[in-house]
Symmetry: C2
Subunit: 407 residues, 2 copies
């Protein structure tokens, strides 16, 4: 049996925690082959970014990747030492040494392939693999540059490695005990879910549940890999992410309330209602690697329409610059921003096929006096944009309205 485990930054934040994780890994090793993926220690990545920003207002992405990749390289070496000191054979591998090849894009590279030859050989020698998460290299052997997979990329590394090694289990260890019906810091009655589907997890994660990286969930779905999310320092059972099970029809269709307390809305007024106008904007944003979240475009009147979308803080500056330029080209109206908006969603497979959930959601918010700025829906979620100030109350009233505290 082969188990892939990923340990996040807070799980390896200092020597004591690294040793605690090593002890856990050594125990797993008694029953199975093990490959672990580690993040950088604690706040290392944030500290490195802060240092870079002292030196350059727009640090070169290639250099940023090289800088940030040191965090995981260091933690993988330290974890390997900890395992060895417990008498557990282990070897650290950088992304490149693990055979993780990415496209030639920096800061947000996608994995193009994994050559598992070295991983296999090290496993055959009886080693625990300790893989530096979040990173890969570009293809060309001796000219290879270091790339990183973007925030949360260690989750992606873990799932991709699980696939490349045809692992029996993929476990993501973090500082939460699993996926909750909503953020327990806001709603103390929030309940841990035993399982969620990939789609539900994607909506929960994408809408702001800080448990696991979306790309990793997508990859898990694509390759049908069951993923356990659990706490790295407790024995609590965690949450399994897998394809929908047969319980779906009789359970509560609403599985959780996702929220994102801080996003930025950009609105372009009076966009000419001609084919390709929206595409021009979003093509330009995609070229700059800006992740656009909620897009709302209403029916047009008098040949023009207003177009809104939200982006996270990191991409906001770029997004605004790009949008302003394209809006000018399009002879559109003013570009306005609202930096004090938040998203809240109800998420669950089959929400669409169960009538009445939208009504119940909007009513609950209305009763609490919370104004809805805009609405979007997907097959498995309904999302509203509200003022940031209302976010905690919104999460609370929705959790209660859908009785999520009940199993």
């Amino acid at each position: 049996m082969l188990v892939v485990q990923k340990y996040g930054g807070s799980s390896v934040a200092d020597a004591d925690r690294i040793m605690a994780v090593a002890t856990r890994v050594a125990r797993t090793r008694e029953k199975a082959d093990v490959a672990i993926v580690v993040s950088a220690m604690g706040k290392t990545t944030d500290n490195l970014i802060a240092l870079a920003q002292q030196l350059s207002t727009a640090p070169d992405p290639r250099e940023m990747d090289k800088l940030l990749a040191t965090g995981e390289q260091a933690s993988s070496a330290l974890m390997t030492m900890a395992l060895q000191s417990l008498g557990c054979k282990a070897v650290s591998l950088t992304g490149g040494q693990a055979g993780i090849i990415t496209e030639v894009v920096h800061r947000k590279a996608r994995i193009s392939k994994i050559d598992p030859t070295r991983m296999r050989r090290e496993l055959d020698k009886g080693n625990v693999l300790v893989i530096a998460g979040f990173q890969g290299i570009t293809e060309h052997a001796s000219w290879a540059d270091i790339t990183t997979l973007g925030r949360g990329g260690s989750d992606t590394t873990a799932v991709a490695v699980a696939r490349a090694l045809d692992a029996d289990r993929c476990e993501i260890y973090t500082d939460v005990e699993g996926v909750y019906t909503t953020d327990p810091r806001i709603v103390p009655e929030a309940r841990k879910l035993d399982s969620v589907s990939y789609e539900e997890m994607l909506e929960l994660a994408g809408q702001g549940a800080k448990v696991m990286h979306s790309r990793a969930v997508e990859l898990g779905e694509l390759y049908d890999i069951e993923i356990l999310v659990a706490h790295s320092q407790t024995e609590a059972p965690g949450t399994v992410i897998r394809h929908e099970d047969e319980q779906m029809e009789i359970r509560n269709p609403v599985r959780g309330i996702a929220h994102d307390a801080k996003t930025n809305r950009i609105t372009v007024a009076s966009v000419p209602d001609i084919p390709g106008a929206a595409s021009r904007i979003f093509h330009a944003l995609a070229e700059k690697n800006v992740s656009v979240d909620i897009i709302v475009q209403n029916v047009s009147s008098k040949g023009v329409t207003d177009l809104s979308f939200t982006v996270n803080d990191e991409d906001f500056g770029t997004a605004l610059a790009v949008t302003t330029a394209v809006a000018k080209d399009l002879n559109a109206g003013e570009v306005t921003v609202d930096e004090d908006v938040a998203k809240v969603s109800i998420v669950g497979t089959g929400i669409r096929s169960h009538p009445g959930y939208a009504d119940k959601m909007f009513s609950a918010l209305a009763e609490a006096g919370i104004n809805i700025l805009s609405i979007t829906t997907s097959e498995i979620r309904i999302t509203v944009l509200i003022n940031s100030d209302d976010i905690q109350q919104a999460v609370r009233v929705l959790h209660q309205a859908f009785e999520l505290e009940k199993a």
Copy 2:
């Protein structure tokens, strides 16, 4: 013209100093092509070692190399960002990306070859090369492991890169203004030397002058590369290391007083006076990569002899274990240690050919009441081992006796 410059850890200890170095490099770039080699920031390496020691009493050398190499990888990326923010085209290269191939030995690897192809191509693009010092990779392309060159290895990187690129100048920037007649902290009258020969520098460095790494000086001598040692934050002219010049015959044959305030003496009593006995001991030490410093073996009596040698703190534990094992095999007597000894040397080309220097040295020490534990000499130095407590006084009286304060 191509200039190779090396900047040590204290020169890149924080964002301000990195920016100061970048400004200096950008100025040099106006007149020449530039390749710089950087050490890890400030105390990074020491901090990483301390972290490793919390996890393992004997960290795996392969993992230590991987851990420590992150320091220079990070500083090279940061320096590159700083240069770019000044409008100076630059690219960072890890040891491997710079084509630095080493033997498959960890912690103290020697460079086996440098493939300058990528460095050349980046220079041709108009980039300043910012090379991570102290590190290389093992030969086998996709299986390459990261190696480090040992303490001070960034100096070695700089000289080796200067050779590989056939550079016109090699400049080592550090936190001292050059090579002094002795440590100015001990003797305020110590005088900075305009030039020293490679041999003198080797003796000065090897005997404890903390200016530059011996291997780098040896490499400079081997390839006849003039090396400037100067302060990274001032415009003081520094010291040039080069082959002896014609002034040698008329100048003071004693060029400086070197000292090493802390070393460890290991003595094996009653070693059988048979061919190969010493070789057995030193072969075993070499196999463990222990650098042995002063070796003293006196004439034998009754078929046995006492053998002493000194090793630095880092190697002391290994050296003692190895020596004790071999001494037992040889049926030698007790192995004793003295951890409170220090070395002081007079250094200068032609000391041997000028009679009377040994006498003058020993007399000066005797007058100061300093007891000599043992004596060794080379072509260009005379070294005595004394008690650690006497070291500062010894340096002072010798500096005065040889009138080194006079130009």
